[in-house]
Symmetry: C2
Subunit: 341 residues, 2 copies
């Protein structure tokens, strides 16, 4: 007959090991307080019984849930998936479980999501972009839970950031095109409502063009957040501003749609039109032509955001901010304009 170890709670382990429940608890949570031999015996019994501490009981008594909350725009952007992967695995190493909520791109209405994360017991929270929901700022002021935001680096925000300067990134892209000789620009952007990344990129784009006296500061087009939106935006741009020779896309996702629309219209990239992306998605170097884009340190941000929150959890101090660099990655989709105007 197969001797299957019987499962039981901490009390069962205590009894079998001939110690008190308190000692079993300590053997796991405060091992340095327990005699080595006793501890070894407890661990052996626990393993034999396949003892699993009940997270609910542990959380109730210790007031620590070991849960981390994340509110993301979407999991459908692989750049966020990568970031979260790193973030989550770092926390997993420390015994934390991550719960993820998707909220869309508008940060003016993330209150319910944040509240839900907190209601579920999140001990720390990761957000994306500047918080623009007054109700969330109220929560922030009242709670001890450390928050970090990523993917942007808002000045003077209530939420510490582990991100990068979106304006600087777009500036590098726009100046690259300017340096190539482009004078007629357009931008394919996402919605700016409750989205500081988009606003920062648009503002930087406009600033560069105005400083250079180039055309296109007002040619900022948005048709949504997916690939098809990029195609529709390209269509609108070429219909309204056929003199455009350079397009700044606020994500590589838009660039994919834009490429397809160019093909449909017989527009050659980069001969007729230079296109630049954002994020350096996996497919960026594989497009035809390979996409010039801005490489964003997604893995590093995920890891670093986790470290910042972990440290805050230990020290009870606010999380440490960190501003990372992006890299303008030149590939084949940008070139000097053929016809100077």
């Amino acid at each position: 007959m197969q001797e299957r170890p019987k499962r039981g709670g901490l009390a069962a382990v205590a009894k079998a090991a001939g110690v008190s429940p308190a000692t079993v608890s300590r053997a796991f949570n405060l091992p340095e307080l327990v005699n080595d031999a006793v501890r070894a015996r407890i661990l052996a019994v626990a393993a034999e019984q396949q003892y699993r501490p009940d997270p609910a009981a542990r959380a109730l008594r210790s007031r620590r849930t070991h849960m981390i909350g994340v509110a993301l725009p979407t999991l459908d952007y692989s750049i966020f998936a990568r970031l979260i992967n790193r973030f989550q695995s770092r926390f997993a190493e420390e015994g934390y479980t991550t719960i993820i909520l998707t909220t869309g791109f508008d940060n003016r209405n993330i209150h319910d999501s944040v509240q839900l994360l907190l209601d579920r017991g999140a001990e720390a929270v990761l957000l994306v972009g500047a918080v623009e929901d007054a109700k969330v700022n109220e929560i922030l002021a009242e709670t001890q839970v450390p928050f970090v935001t990523t993917y942007s680096f808002p000045k003077g925000s209530a939420v510490p950031a582990v991100g990068f300067d979106n304006g600087e990134a777009t500036q590098a892209a726009t100046e690259h095109l300017l340096a190539l000789g482009h004078r007629h620009f357009a931008m394919i952007a996402g919605l700016t409502d409750g989205n500081d990344r988009q606003r920062d990129r648009i503002a930087a784009y406009r600033r560069c063009l105005e400083r250079a006296g180039a055309t296109g500061a007002d040619r900022v087009v948005c048709h949504g957040f997916d690939m098809a939106a990029g195609g529709r935006a390209l269509a609108e741009i070429m219909d309204h501003y056929p003199d455009t020779t350079a397009i700044v896309c606020n994500t590589d996702i838009f660039a994919v749609g834009a490429y397809a629309e160019c093909r449909k219209r017989g527009i050659r990239v980069p001969d007729d039109l230079s296109i630049i992306g954002f994020d350096d998605a996996e497919y960026a170097p594989l497009l035809d032509p390979p996409l010039t884009t801005i490489a964003v340190p997604a893995d590093e941000m995920g890891l670093c955001a986790a470290e910042a929150l972990l440290a805050a959890l230990k020290s009870k101090a606010p999380p440490q901010e960190r501003c990372m660099d992006t890299t303008l990655t030149l590939r084949g989709s940008t070139a000097a304009p053929r016809h100077k105007s």
Copy 2:
């Protein structure tokens, strides 16, 4: 002075409403047992105090965590992200929180992930593909927790499936190419270790070719699971089997890499080489040429898997299986071969 509502537990609500804690609990969880007027009063007080039930206490006492576990190969495949999005939002409607773990594509070693989900209190679990980990099957036999697997439809599995027949899907793709007149095939596949989807697709591909007397049953190449792997696989295929005119990719992700490698080599799609994908990713119709692929009902599977688990949770019966259809979606990347051999 701003009158801020003071937070408190259930006991505080009970006192303020002049009822017992039990009645407050019932007002939320068993409303039909509480007098309407009393209940209204309790709800008003609770709202004023911003009462939030403690999930740990609730879980400990009721033995219900309201957590659902998911173990996925990766979040980086947008098809899984979509599936999980739907799955999660359906459960959220019912007050459940979803916790997601990524495990890679090899199902022979998911035991630790599944155990972790269970240890965290998952009341139901979603998996991808056939379970090939004996230790997981042991867990399955011992636990009452309902499991569902998705994305494949294994026969006689211990885990009920809400998925589709991968062999049938690949058969449709291969027969399409055969009907166009192709005789020399290759397949770009993922690793088959612990991955029934890959094995089913490869088997179907081979069966079709053998039945038709076409070449390529042994030309199944794998270089990993990302886009670059698709490119390397294409290179290997064309280096070793230059007569190949048709390639079946086991994900659109491989097709992106294959397209890029074709361009590099001056191979024209579909004139020189027909390529067919799997999954119908967002970019499939936007590639050049648009990718013929197999559309998979990701949203529907996510929703349906959630429903199956929800029903199982209520009825205590095993989850209901469901086999869905895929759709061979013809676009521009497949055509008759130029040179019959």
